[in-house]
Subunit: 152 residues, 3 copies
């Protein structure tokens, strides 16, 4: 698969990976697994989706936030690859969604990230996942997405 | 160990694995690790435990919910095995419990899942675990249990 | 690196590992990965940091809580090593912070754990991480820290 072509077709430009603000790394590899730190829906260094599902943000906005956080995961992933041929597959994502206590549509919101991964990687993008609602996230972000990938 | 016998003795019939509603999978294997997607306390396709610990649900109901979510994890696990002999051990579970902010008995609630794993698998069921309280879960479920298993 | 010397220099005495209260283990190894169960900010068997960031606890107290929970992770880690030379690196931590819904300084709080890991292990302590706010934790703890380490 030509991943760069798929990214272009989906209109995605992977951002620069921002430097963590503390003594941690955007990703750490152990064996064939690459553990990518939780990513927020940042765009050009600015938090693009702030607020709470179930009150301040619509489902569509939540999906866009998860898609954007996943794009930031892919930027970190690419940074840890010699080239895309080194990626075996996406193994798992965990999506933490900042929401009101009555909000239940978490899977629908996290589909914003899952659909992106299938669009870009096809069969190799099909992952296990966990969707959880939380009451607070860094910067007040709408979501945080953590990713695990298998590399050659 | 005869796992099917243990399941029968515990009165457990593993359900059919339901098809995920988006572009993700019930489980993904990488190396010897099987990452099982977060499972809800579903029974015959219906959410059996809905609501919040610390107000709407008792400890016993929360434990039953965690047990049931773990049973759904085992159904996914079995679906990914040629036979139970392929299972080396349960490595870790993460239990997300939907609860009120004042609720602190999360370990006791998650014991519903942990005890099941010991009952079925004995020493091979002894896992690492994380118990966390959250304000919202998919469908308003009482809990969500994620499982990691080691396979041959 | 002489890890025992670094611990002494940082004034850290690793505590005894307390026995889990249910059918789970403080840590489980699979391949080269050691999965350490979520640890609370316990000191000599007592919860040292209880309460909620954003109201009851200051940032500095939250950082101290995360540092202490990480120290408890290191106690479990050491218990699973023949000696420190067996540790390859810290791979990932997940920090769950008990907080008010408006609280956003989760990364700053979790730095209490991240900084400790760098202080003790240097380059081998640089990890991937996830910082999440939650509404409830076991015993009402201020934080819970989960750790993943790579061993030889």
């Amino acid at each position: 698969m030509d991943i760069e072509k798929r990214l272009r077709e989906c209109g995605i430009v992977l951002p620069e990976v921002s430097v963590p603000l503390a003594a941690y790394l955007p990703a750490v590899r152990s064996g064939n697994l690459l553990f990518i730190s939780g990513q927020l829906p940042m765009e050009q260094g600015v938090l693009a989706y702030k607020g709470r599902l179930g009150s301040e943000l619509s489902i569509a906005e939540g999906q866009a936030a998860c898609r954007l956080a996943a794009i930031n995961c892919l930027a970190v992933l690419k940074n840890n690859l010699a080239d895309w041929g080194q990626l075996v597959k996406i193994v798992k994502i965990t999506g933490y969604i900042q929401c009101e206590a009555h909000f239940t549509e978490l899977p629908l919101v996290l589909n914003g990230a899952s659909q992106l991964l299938e669009d870009i990687f096809g069969e190799y993008g099909k992952h296990a996942r966990v969707a959880v609602g939380v009451n607070a996230l860094p910067l007040g972000a709408a979501c945080e997405v953590e990713m695990l990938a298998e590399l050659r």
